[in-house]
């Protein structure tokens, strides 16, 4: 099996590692390096569970990238975002109850952080567009969108198209 030496920075740690040339970044992270906070959901670039940040800003499906081609690059996973305590997106996911089973969550958090780093004031539409590649089967997305809005500190937005709120009403007895 052909291997290649690469230099990879993962969550701020500089690593010189040898990787099989055909190994995906997802496998390198999970199997070789033990960063299991990056999840396998499909392995074919369709679900976003494996999303990581590359070089600080852009996001990437790690199941679709070969580690051997990423020499010199820097990778951030969900755990890496919390090195100085939870980042704003992570805190907002807790506050907005945007976490259910949690399997999509690392990818969602990473993707949302990448979005806010590039566009600190996204509209609701832009948030929803950006998250299209990340599937969540639990939440129906509303709480996640609210969390990103909270993180962007522009919540609630003027655009009230998705002004979703739960209302508690008292029952009636005749």
């Amino acid at each position: 099996m052909k291997e290649r030496m690469i230099e990879l920075t993962v969550n701020g740690i500089n690593l010189n590692i040898s990787v099989p040339v055909h190994q995906t970044l997802l496998d390198t992270l999970r199997e070789q390096l033990g960063f299991t906070d990056t999840k396998y959901g499909c392995g074919t670039g369709e679900c976003g569970a494996c999303t990581v940040i590359i070089d600080g800003e852009d996001s990437l499906c790690s199941c679709m990238a070969l580690a051997s081609t990423l020499n010199g690059r820097s990778i951030t996973t969900a755990a890496g975002l919390a090195e100085q305590g939870l980042n704003a997106v992570q805190q907002a996911f807790i506050d907005q109850t945007a976490v259910q089973c949690g399997y999509c969550t690392p990818g969602m958090v990473v993707k949302s952080t990448s979005l806010l780093r590039k566009n600190p004031n996204p509209t609701e539409e832009e948030i929803r567009k950006e998250l299209e590649g990340n599937i969540c089967r639990c939440t129906g997305y509303d709480s996640i969108v609210k969390a990103v809005q909270q993180a962007a500190q522009s919540f609630p937005e003027e655009n009230t198209q998705w002004d979703n709120a739960v209302e508690l009403k008292t029952g009636a007895h005749s």
Binding site: D37, K39, L168
Partner: protein
Amino acid sequence: MSQFSVIGKNVPKVDAFEKVTGQPIYAADLKMQGMLYGKIVRCMDHAHARVTRLDFSEALKIPGVIKILGPEDVTQTTYNTGACDEMVSDKVGHLLGDLKDQTIFTYHVRHQGDAICGVIATSEEIAERAAAKVIVEYEPLQVFMTPSEAEKTGTHQLHPDKPNNMAFQLPDAMFPGNSYGWGDAEEAMKEADLIVEDNFYVNKQKQCQMEPHAYIAQVDGRGRLHCWSSGQMPKITHQKIARLFDMPMSMVKIHSTTIGGGFGARLGIISEPETCAMALAVPGRPVKVQTLREEDWIISESRHAGDYWMKLGFKKDGTPVACQARFKANTGAYFTHASGVPFTTGAWLSGMYKFGALGYQGESYFSNQAPAGAYRGYGNPQTNFVLEQLIDRALTQLDIDPVQWRLDWHKGVGDDGWCFGVKYPSCQLSECLRQGAEAIEWDKKVAANKQQSGVKRRGVGVSVMNHTSGAMPMLLEHTVTTIMMNEDGSAVVSTACSDLGQGSHTVLHQIAAEALGLEMHEVTLKTGDSDANGFDIGSHASRTTYVGGNSILEASDDVKKQLLDRASRHLDTSVENLEFGGKTIFAKNNPENSITTAEICRLGVYNYMDPETGEPEGAPGQIFGFSSHFAKHNSPPFGACFVEVEIDTETGEIELLELVHTHDIGRTLHPAMAEGQMVGGAQQGIGMALTEEIYYDDQGLALNSSFTDYKMYGSSDMPKMKVILVEDPDPHGPYGAKSVGEAGLTSPVGAIANAVYNALGIQFKEAPITPEKVLKAIKENGLNFA
């Protein structure tokens, strides 16, 4: 001011902190010393075939391959991956004709993906390469995919005991005439002024939980079998694995891993048998089996598709005189839930409206589809799609408003629920209907839609539902809880109730904290350990808050009783004179005379002798509360869903403009999590109505086993959504709560279909309602929307 300290509050989910950093351990994240990898060889090219040659010789030559197990190398005991067989008595199981018809590996492929053999190797890659080298030759057999094909004479019979491939029908001994209901529906139908009747098809929907199934099993030095599994019923898994391998339960341990979504997919077992069989072949070495997404898709159970006939009779004034229905469910290749779903499909039907008479027949048929099983709703969405549409068809002809008719005729408090004799203890469906109609501006929109023109047409639709809070009285309802009071007065609550992500562990924490007068962080939940946890039937039937919660309340009462007994001794007064004030117990007649619960707990554990008196300093013994709780009631939640759609009659595209979800779930224990269940449930209900179905080619091979080809609503497809919870504490639920888990999925299905009907005047008899079907129907009906 709320009377509660944590109930009804949006406390942080107990698992949220870990989950936002990706720390929880799902089964696939586990790695162990000396771990081997298992790969199951599956038949991917045939839906029905017999294995004529199985040759491991080439595969075994690959370095790193440890063993390959074929059908004869493992136990021949058969099993059922579902769980219904564990939830009814043997007598009822016998009457229902339940089968255990699955084997670990097989020579008879009954559906695409059936397991042939298992390769054990030192790495996943080697296991995969070796699996590809296993030579399997097949003799194809006749493929049949639907109930009507299955029952045709001459069709291959999948199970010797089930003629015409009819896996199940309501047994005459329990349901005379193989029919469920009341009155003589056929006679009553004769009284009707208007009859509506049609044949429908309901679709095979996939749960699509985000975590693909993964397992590890290992036999330890003592010969004890360990299995790490993300099943939603750990105690049932425990029982099934022990029985399958003929071991006492004490020699099997189930370690529950974090569950990455379930929605029914993890009800019962899936590939635990294969994984354990491989581990038993290599004692001492852990064996990991990671299922690929495509594999997960075709091996794990889906929603039951089926053919649904229904006939409804009404008087001119709308009085519903009779309902007759027959559901022929497609159970797929194995029995699994063949008896459960056709029963509940009719139960939901009979629980909804006050028909004068009702007769329902439920059946299941084998086919070469992947097995069907439990999926959130469990027959309810199927009924909703059919019943709610047919009602609206009749109401159009009778010129009666759909909201008003539902207000007039839905069942409510005191009526027989979905199981006769179990009456509804609480119901706010009328208020749900009123609130929802107001929120979506029903009257205004109905009037406006009558006047519309142009290629884009709008429609509004309503649908109602109720579900269940546990499965009492049909199935066993039992949860055991123990509460250990630490010596500082904090508590460890032990229960096997699992959390699929919906938040049940958070709610159970809340219930325990409230009942014991503790803060959230003073309660710890001990779950997921079959050695430590007592029995729990598992997370299904929307039961965990309602039944698990009541079990925790019962165990808390036991703790409180012991605390009071001891306080009475410490404070030298009668129990009747004592009262709890948070974490203190005081004498009512002299509040100064008090003791903290922490002090009682401490003295119980550190029970020293007083050197002066020679007496112990307080009552001895650590306090444990216990409950072995059998649910005595069932309090279904109710809901009404309102939807507005806009249909492009040139493309057939249906856009959801708004969805209003109103629900009566009793008292809301955690509003944000309840909302999350409603919105998340709606996403799946929308999918069932509009986009989601597993398609097969004519050879029975699945065509869309991927997220690209199987269409789910994504973040920007979701409509504007509003959730209204009409609160009315239920007399039986913990703190008045009813269930919420499955409720959100069902009513959107019928509401969307009815909104489409309102927009186009066409009803769709096959779910999902795709743009192609819309265009075809517009053409066939000769409609012109210009």
